[in-house]
Each structure stands twice: as C-alpha cells, then as structure tokens.
C-alpha cells in the first residue's frame, strides 16, 4: 500500500480507529462511561475536522498553509476510488461539526430515557465515517459502500430507543425502504457498469461524453431515485415524516443535518462528475424533484401539529431549494447549494436544540401547542427559536435569507426563472408554519404548566451558538461563501 493512500484518508482512518477504540472502551466500562465516551467522540470529530483542514500543510510542506479552500484538485487514493478535493473537504468539515453537535445534543436526552449506552457515540462516528466516504467516493462501488456504512448505522440509530414502539417502527420503516433504495442504486450501478464497462467516475465521465444509450439513462434514473431517497426528495420522501417523528429527537437532529448534507453532496458529485455528459437528462429529473419537494414540503407542513414532523416537511422543502441549486448545474449553483446547506445545517441543529429543551416534567413536549407561552416562561429560548424560525422562513437579515437568496440568484442567472419563482412562492407558504410557531410562542397563552428549565449546558451552548451564527452571518458571510466557491470550483471539470 502506498503512503499516499494513508495521507489522503488520514482523517477517515483516524476516525475509524477512534471509533473502534471507543467501542472497546465503552464495552469494557459499561453504560456508566457514556458521557465520557460521548465527550471523547466530540473531541474526535473536532480533531478529525482539524486534521482535515491542517493535514495538507503537513503533507506538502512545500505549499504553505493552504486551508480548506485551496487544496489541490483531486488528492486521490486507492486506485482512484477515493478523492479528497476541496469540495469533499468543505462538506466533511460541516459533517464533522454536525456530528459533534448531534452528540452534544444527546447527552441529557439519553440519560433521561435510559439510553446511555456507549454504542451511541460509536454508531454516530461510524455513520459520520460512512458519510465522509460517500462524499469522497470517486467510484460507484466506493459510493455504495460509504452509503451502506452510513445507512446501516442510521437504521440502528433510528430505532435506538428500542422499548419505544414508534422508535422501533421508525427504524424498521427506514430499514425496509432504505433497502429498496439500495436495490435501486445497485440496479442503476449495474446498468451503468453494463453499458460503460467501468465504475470509476473519470472513466464514466469519459465514456458518457457522447449521446447516451437508453440503458445509461435508465441507470441514471435508478441512481437518482436512490439518491433522492437518501436526501428525501419527493417522490422518494415518504419515510421522512415517520422516521423523523419516531426516532429519538437527538437522532432526528442528526438525520436532518449530517446525512442530508452528505447525500446531497454525493448527489451533486455523481451528477456533475461521472454523469456530467447526461446533464440534459438529469436536469429534468432534478427540476421535477425540486419543484415537487418545494411544493409538498411547504403545503404538507401546514397541517402538522407535531414539531418534529413539521421539521421533517421543512427538511423536504429545504431539499427542494437545495435541488434548485443543483438543477442550475454550474459553479454558481453548486456554490449556492453549499452555502444553503451550511446555513440550513446550523439552523436545523439549533431548532432541534430548542426542541430538546422542551420538557414538561421530564417528558418531551413535541406538539407545537406545547410552545405556547414560551416567551414568558423562557424568554431567551423563545428568542432563539424565533431567530431560527425567521431564518428558516428566509427573513433578512438572518442567515436563512442569504441561503435562499444565493440559490434563487443562481437559478435566475442561469435562466431558470420559473424555478426561482416557484421557490419564492413556496417559501411564502412555508413561512406560514414557521411564523405560526413564533405566534404560538409569543401570543398564545400557556394551557399547561410551563416547560422545565433548560438543563444541560451543552444544549444552551448549541442553541445559543446557532442563534448567534444565524444572527451574525450577515456580518461575516465571506469565509463561508469563499470556501463554498472554492469547493464548487474543485468539482467542476477543469480547463
């Protein structure tokens, strides 16, 4: 094995080894050490992130302090199956951040529900590893492997609260439908392999430059369908509300952030690199899914009374906006998509942080009506939630506005005006349910006893930090925007 392989995958290797050791440690120490293992897992995630950013400067001492944005195009490993370009780096950093936050969000919840088990952080780490491999996949097989590693860990996480019927149901549903989507993916991969004789992305891109045969197009459709399942785009979204509602809340938070981002990133890479020659075909699919997701996510959310379910529809709608960026299919579109997802990630984690704070006598309050009177009992929490909701609704000057702005701007500049118009209209519809939450918090009188005081320090850090980021993005947008541009640039065919 070459040393390059280790260098290129060092953060992943680090993460895998740490996860294995953590697992061993957890098994040895039993359930009492859960908090400790969780802490270590957070540190591991952050350390992997630092490695990811700083490693290139160790590996290539000739090139000074490059950072995420200026990595060489395509640091490949394992015979070109693995690629670590700026795009992968950008997404991975976000993923690691999301995982660290998801673990932090879980502490109090797991303890109160008798779920303090060391496997939880380990599974999150494995899922994160799977996501990182997905993002770095440069071969259909590597793609599939990463996807399955991530999915399997997620299936288990969804039913982690195994004594709770909804949680088990969520895990099982996710598993069955996920298997179906995996089947579609494999079928699509086999079609692509059968018609091109290759699974490597470069080779595929090379072969698919001309007019594609129908088999390749259908292979593309199958791959797209599987990807759409993972990002929960309409019409492959059906699992989302049930799984989001049934899974333990910290896991839902994780679902809404990490896997969604990873799957979208993978989706973008697959469409823009190996299948770039089929752009004419897949743009139709993506446009349809974008429009359908925006419409369904916005309208179906109106009727929800459970806030986790609401967030599920919100995530469907948001995937629709992200797909708009994908449908644009140029550098600006990918940049917009990455900016959008970065903001959405922080935003949604913040929302789930607030949801996790809502407890009444130890029981999670998940109905929207439970938020009534929050502004009086917990003014700071209500303000944070208000910021998140305004941001999701896209009200300037909060960060969510800029996410939508970049996406729609990219769409308009690429001549996809109808898409942008539908996006704006549906975000108006969706604004209703975001603003309703604010209305409930500020104008409805509490019917039941006030929710318990906010307990964990970690929750406070996460929600407060996320709210501040949403609020202050307007002052410091350049780091995110520039890195996203570099990432998008690295994804595009060079020269």
């Amino acid at each position: 094995m070459n040393v390059e392989n280790i260098y290129a995958t060092f953060p992943e290797l680090f993460l895998a080894s740490c996860a294995l050791m953590l697992l061993l440690f957890g098994v040895k120490r039993g359930n009492d050490a859960t908090l400790f293992t969780g802490l270590i897992a957070v540190v591991v995630c952050l350390a992997a992130g630092v490695l990811l950013i700083k490693l290139p400067s160790f590996v290539e001492p000739g090139q000074a302090q490059l950072g995420v944005s200026a990595l060489c195009h395509g640091c490949k490993a394992f015979g070109g199956m693995f690629i670590n370009d700026a795009f992968a780096q950008f997404v991975k950093v976000l993923l690691l951040l999301a995982s660290a936050i998801a673990i932090m969000l879980s502490w109090g919840y797991m303890e109160r529900h008798g779920l303090e088990r060391p496997e939880y952080p380990a599974l999150i780490l494995f899922a994160t590893l799977g996501m990182m491999l997905m993002v770095s996949a440069n071969d259909l097989l590597a793609l599939y492997m990463g996807l399955e590693l991530q999915s399997l860990a997620l299936y288990v996480l969804a039913s982690f609260r195994r004594d709770h019927v909804r949680s088990s149901e969520a895990g099982l549903k996710y598993f069955v439908l996920g298997s179906l989507s995996s089947g579609m993916l494999l079928y699509g991969i086999s079609l692509l392999y059968g018609y091109t004789g290759s699974t490597g992305f470069e080779a595929l891109a090379h072969v698919l430059a001309g007019e594609p045969p129908i088999g390749v197009v259908l292979g593309l459709v199958f791959v797209c369908a599987a990807m759409a399942f993972k990002v929960s785009a309409v019409p492959f979204h059906m699992w989302t509300p049930d799984v989001y509602e049934g899974a333990p809340t910290p896991v839902t938070a994780f679902f809404a952030a990490g896997p969604k981002l990873a799957a979208l990133a993978l989706f973008v890479r697959v469409l823009l690199q190996p299948l770039a020659g089929l752009e004419h075909q897949w743009v139709q699919v993506v446009v349809f899914m974008a429009v359908a997701s925006m419409l369904l996510g916005s309208f179906a959310g109106l009727a929800q009374s459970n806030i986790k379910r609401l967030m599920a529809y919100s995530s469907i709608a948001n995937v629709g906006y992200a797909l708009v960026g994908m449908a644009v299919a140029n550098e600006a579109g990918v940049q917009a998509l990455l900016v959008y997802l970065s903001i959405y990630l922080v935003n949604t984690l913040g929302v789930f942080g607030v949801i996790l704070c809502l407890r009444r006598e130890g029981v999670m309050a998940e109905k929207i009506a439970d938020l009534a009177g929050l502004s009086k009992s917990h003014p700071l929490l209500a303000v944070a939630m208000g910021i998140f909701m305004f941001s999701l609704a896209g009200v300037p000057p909060l960060a969510g506005f800029f996410g939508k702005y970049f996406v729609f701007l990219a769409a308009v500049q690429a001549g996809m005006l109808p898409l942008a118009i539908i996006g704006v209209l549906t975000s108006c519809v969706a604004a209703y349910y975001y603003l309703r939450i604010i209305k409930v918090m500020y104008f409805d009188d509490a019917t039941e006893a006030a929710v318990d005081p906010v307990p964990e320090f970690s929750l406070r850090i996460v929600t407060g930090g996320a709210a501040l980021l949403m609020l202050l993005f307007v002052f410091m947008p350049t780091p995110v925007i520039d890195s996203a541009l570099a990432a998008a640039h690295s994804l595009m065919p060079q020269g």
Binding site: L172, K173, V176, L177, L180, S181, M184, I214, V217, L218, V221, F222, C224, A225, A228, F229, P235, F236, M238, W239, P241, D242, Q281, Q284, V285, F288, L296, F299, A300, G301, L302, A303, Q304, V429, Y432
Partner: protein, 663 residues
C-alpha cells in the same frame, strides 16, 4: 441667527416639553412653559421685524441642515426671513402669545390643559416653519403640520361626535387642496428644476411664454402651476368651493378659532400667493382666477353671515369673507394691500373671536344669539372689545383724521380693485369693486346684527344663565388689550409702511409687483396697482365708508327699531332666504355628489372588489386552497411501509417512462 432660531423653535421646545411631560408637570407649569416660549418668540419676532423690515436690514437666510439629497433634487431645512416673513412672524407669534395667555383663563376648567397648550405651541411652530421656509417643500411641511394641529385642536374635545366629524371634514377638505398644492410642487420641480424659491423666482420670467402639452392641448406652464398652487391656498384659506370645513371647525375651543381659523392658518394661502408673487406675476390669467374666486368668496360668505345665529359661525363666515377680500387684492396684484389686510384682520378678528369666547364663557357655553340679549351691563369690557372689533371689521373711520384698522386696509383693497379696473384688469376690477362694496355693506350689517342681538334688547335665554353671567377674568381680558390697540391703531400706523409712501423701502424685494402701462392715457404713466390706487377719485375711497354706515343703520332698523322686520323679510324673500340660510346648500351638494358617491363606490369595491375578488381569490382563497392541499399532502402519509415503497416505485416508473417516451 440666535434670534431667528428663538423665534421659530421656542414654541417647538415648549410643545415638546409640555407634550411629553405635561402630565407630570401639571397644568400651571404647562401653561407657564408654553406661554413663556411663545412670548419670548413674540419678543424675538418684534426685534426681527424691527431689524429686517423697519431698519432696512438684510434678509436673514440660514441653511440649518440638509433634508433630502436625491440625484439633483436637493432640499434643505432653511430659514429665510425678509419683510414679508417678518410681518408674518409678528402676526403669528403675537396673536399666538395672546391666545396662549387667554387660554389660561378660558381653559381653566378643562381637564386637558397640558395637551391643549402643547397643541397650541405645536401649531405655532408649524406655522412658523411655513412662513420662514425658503423652499416649497419645507413650506409644505409646515402646511401639513398646521393642518395636523388644526385637526388635533378642532377635535380637542374628542368625546363630542360633532367635533370628530368637523375635524375629519377639515382634514379631508384640506387634503383636496393639498393635492393641488402637491401637484404644484411636483410641477415646479419639473419646470424650474428646483423647489428653492430663489431659483424659481430667477427662472420664472423666462417661463412666461412656455407651455406644455396635456391631453393634446397646449397648456401654459406658469398659469397651470400657479392655479395648482392656488388650489392648495383655496383649501387652507377656505375659499369658495373648499370652504365648507371652516364653519364646522368652530367646534374647537374658541382660542383655537381665534388663532388658527381667523388670524393665522387660514391666511397661509394668502401668504403663499404673496410669497410666490414673483411667479404669479408672470401668470396674469391665474391672477384673474384668484381675483374672481376671492371676490365671490367675499360676497357669498358675507351673505351667509347675515343669516346665521351661532355667534362663532357668524364670525367664521366673516373671516371667510375677509379672506376673500385678501385674495381679490392678490388677484389685482395688490399683494401689499392683501398682506396689510391680513395683518389688520389678524388683530380685529382674533379680538372678535376672543370677545365672543368671553361672551360664551359668560353665558356658560351658550352660542346661539337667539338666546342672548341685553347683557352689555353684565360684561361691559367684553362689550367694549366687541365694539372695537366690529368697528374695525366694518372699516369705520373719519376720512383724513383717523380710522379703525379695517378702514385703511379695506379701503386700499377696494381702491386697488377700482384702480386695476381702470388700468389693466378692466373686466374684473370694477366688478370686484362693486362686489366688495356689497360685501362691505353686509359686513357692517351682520357685525351690528351680532352686537345688537348679543348685547342689546332683552335677554331671551334661560334666566339661570343670566344670573350666572359674569365678566371674564383678567387673564382673558388682559390679552385682548394689545389686540384691541392693534385693531384701533394698526391701520393708521401701518398704512404708510405697507401700502403708502414707504412701501418700496419696506417691502424691498420680498414682494414683486410688475408695473403696467395704463391702457388709456393718464397723467400717471407706468405704475403698479397700488400706485394707481392712490390716485383714484375720492368717492372711490369714501363709498365703502358710506355703505358700511348704511349697513349699521340698517342693522339698527332691523334689530332695534323694528324687530319684526327680519322675520318679515325672511318670509318675504322665501326661497332666496332659505338658500342663503342653508349656506347655498354647499354641504348638501358635496354630500350628494362626492360623499355619497364615494361611499357607494367604496362599498362596492369593498364587497365585490375586496371581499369577493381580492380576498376570495387572494388571501382567503389561497389560504383555503393551501389548507386543502396540505390535508391532501398529509393524507399521503398513511404510515404503511408498502404504501411508501409503492410510491417510490411509482416515482421510479414515472421517471423511466418519461425518458422512454418523452425525453
């Protein structure tokens, strides 16, 4: 500079302090603060007047701050104080100071003293902004500000329904005028490229011949602009057509009527035309319209005044009539005469109003003259004041010796009209003169009718009221002294300065009056209207006095010697009397034409336009649709895995089929 600032901003300071902290300050302190502010401003105004107008100092012009800069459109907050402004400063601040002090006594039983004083001071400030402005926009700011204060003060007793509707009416009718004013301002910006007076005045002569195309017709630019601006003036100054709000505005407390609806705000239109004389002078057709409207207003208002019984309304119509005089003076290019009359009128009309207030105060709020009579013994001072005011209003004096204020100012207006008729405004001048004479007769008649009905004869009201009747306190009678002195002396001492020998020195370039060649050969040669006015035959100046005395004599005949005559006359005249008594049915006409129609259109738009179409298909319809769609979409989530899987397969099959057959 400091003096100018004090004259303008002290009332604002008082208004702010009392308006914001009035409750904690209490009544006494509120009165003290506002009165002190306005008194100080009045003193400053007199000093400024002395400096600018009397000793021939330079025009004060200050730029205080930048207001709007947008492209090449620039407007500053500025002060421009020349003779015209200085006159207005003295009138506004002087009358305002007297009214402030008077209000201490008049409003002593009211529970909203701080609010009232704050509004009064605020009004004073806006009026000062209006008169000191050096551009149209800032003038408009003051213009709207006085409108607002007027609204607030008419509606001061907001529990009264009639006060509510009167204030809303005042506001709405003024809006019609303001719309014209705004169009005028926009047009001025288009035509002159600026709303700064200096720039406008400089460019006005060049635009005399210019015209623009409107709906295919060629329209003279300056005439149009001046007419639009004049529509604004008509609204504010209650000229015929837009006058209906003024009588109703008497619902406000009497000091308000005296200050706003007699002495100052209603004269804003006169001031505006005088201020813009360098523009109006180049639009002779517009001036003709001003003259006609003014003359008609003078006579129509006076005729209505003959028949009214509410003491304040009589004076209100009298005010309107006098404003008509001022406008026809303006229309004859006799701006100095108009401003002269404005000044004298401010004194005697506020004196009359405050005197009427004193009567009402004495009779516990009674305003109907039919329930008064014979109370001159009870309130001798008020009686005296009313006599002075009426004499001044009717323009009584001994020619060549001494006369009341109105004697001089009304005479010069009528003489100007006659002179204009003899020289350049032939068609209008003589007519205006005749109409003015008739109006003068009526003025004298209704003034004495008011005096006789109120103070003479036997008391016709409730005897309790009579027993309670008492002379007003000194805080109310005191402020009337300067006003009474003004009503007696302002004409005598102002004549030379305003319209006489010292005129040119006095006005300098604050008013522009073009000179005309008389069409017929006269020995005078070239001159302005006023210059001609000094050279008309003696009978022209004497006639107004004669008809005024005749009016007084008639009043005595009707209301002292033959009290049955008014009733007989009213019956004899029948329809004509009813027409006049009902104010020529202006209100009814407006109600039928504008108010009802607007209501009907509004209701139609509301029920069919807004409710049915916009709401039905708009917010409500979309919302209902969204809810339905939402329920459909959520109903898709059945919870069965195989439904979900099936949906995925259908989606997949859909995409595959699409690519097989359509793509």
């Amino acid at each position: 500079m400091l003096l100018d600032l004090a004259a303008v901003f002290l009332p604002l300071l008082g208004a702010l302090v009392v308006g914001l902290f009035g409750r904690s300050l209490g009544d006494r302190a509120s009165q003290l603060v506002t009165c002190a502010g306005v008194l100080a401003a009045a003193v400053a105004s007199v000093l400024i007047f002395h400096d600018v107008a009397l000793s021939g100092g330079d025009t004060h012009a200050w730029v205080l701050a930048n207001w709007i800069t947008s492209g090449d459109f620039k407007v500053n907050w500025g002060l421009k104080i020349d003779t015209l402004t200085a006159v207005m400063l003295v009138v506004v601040n002087g009358v305002s100071a007297m009214v402030h002090i008077y209000s201490i006594g008049y409003m002593s039983h009211d529970k909203g003293v701080p609010r009232f004083m704050a509004y009064l001071s605020l009004f004073t400030f806006f009026m000062l902004m209006l008169v000191t402005s050096d551009n149209l926009l800032q003038m408009f700011f003051g213009w709207e500000g006085v409108g607002l204060s007027s609204y607030l003060l008419i509606n001061f007793w907001y529990e009264k329904a009639s006060a509510n509707s009167a204030s809303i009416k005042a506001f709405l009718v003024n809006r019609v005028g303001d719309f014209g004013f705004m169009l005028g301002i926009f047009g001025c910006y288009l035509a002159f490229g600026s709303v700064q007076f200096d720039v406008m005045f400089q460019k006005a002569p060049d635009l005399m011949q210019s015209s623009f195309s409107f709906l295919g017709a060629s329209v003279p630019t300056l005439t149009t602009l001046c007419l639009l601006l004049f529509v604004g003036a008509m609204g504010k100054s209650a000229q015929l057509g837009l006058h209906t709000w003024l009588p109703d505005a008497m619902e406000g407390p009497t000091p308000v009527s005296a200050l706003i609806h007699a002495a100052t705000m209603v004269t804003a239109g006169v001031f505006m035309v005088a201020r813009l004389s360098p523009v109006f002078e180049f639009a002779p057709d517009a001036l003709a319209v001003v003259a006609v409207v003014g003359a008609l207003t003078a006579i129509v208002a006076a005729s209505i005044g003959l028949t009214q019984f509410d003491i304040k309304r009589v004076i209100a119509y009298s005010t309107m009539s006098q404003l008509g005089y001022m406008f026809f003076a303006l229309g004859m290019s006799a701006y100095p005469a108009a401003v002269f009359h404005l000044m004298t009128h401010a004194f005697f009309k506020s004196l009359l109003f405050l005197g009427a207030g004193s009567v009402i105060h004495a009779l516990s709020g009674e305003q109907d003259m039919r329930k008064m009579g014979g109370i001159w013994r009870k309130i001798p001072f008020t009686y005296a004041y009313m006599w002075i005011g009426s004499l001044a209003l009717a323009g009584i004096g001994i020619p060549g010796v001494m006369g009341m204020a109105g004697f001089y100012s009304k005479d010069i207006i009528l003489e100007s009209a006659f002179a204009a008729g003899m020289t350049h405004h032939q068609a209008f001048g003589v007519t205006a003169y005749v109409l003015g004479l008739i109006a003068a007769f009526m003025t004298a008649f209704y003034s004495w009718r008011l005096l006789l009905l109120t103070f003479h004869g036997t008391f016709r009201g409730d005897h309790h009221t009579l027993e309670h009747a008492h002379e007003a306190p000194w805080s109310m009678l005191g402020p009337l002294v300067p006003l009474a002195l003004g009503a007696i002396l302002a004409g005598k001492f102002g004549y030379d300065l305003f319209v006489g020998e010292a005129m040119a020195e006095f006005w300098r370039d604050s008013i522009l009056t073009l000179s005309y060649f008389p069409p017929r050969e006269t020995h005078l040669g070239v001159g302005t209207t006023i210059q001609f006015a000094h050279h008309v035959s003696d009978w022209v100046g004497l006639l107004p006095l004669v008809v005024a005395l005749a009016g007084i004599f008639m009043a005595y005949v009707f209301y002292v010697w033959a009290p049955s005559l008014p009733g007989k006359c009213a019956r004899g005249l029948g329809a004509l009397y009813r027409l006049v008594f009902n104010k020529y049915y202006f209100d009814e006409l407006y109600n039928a034409v504008f108010v009802r129609t607007a209501q009907r259109v509004g209701k139609a738009l509301w029920t069919t336009g807004d409710d049915a179409i916009i709401d039905g298909y708009g917010p409500n319809g979309v919302a209902a649709l969204a809810v339905r769609l939402s329920q459909r979409a959520s109903a898709l989530e059945t919870g069965y895995v195989y439904h979900y899987a099936f949906a995925m397969v259908i989606g997949l099959a859909g995409f595959v089929t699409w690519f097989w057959f359509w793509a």
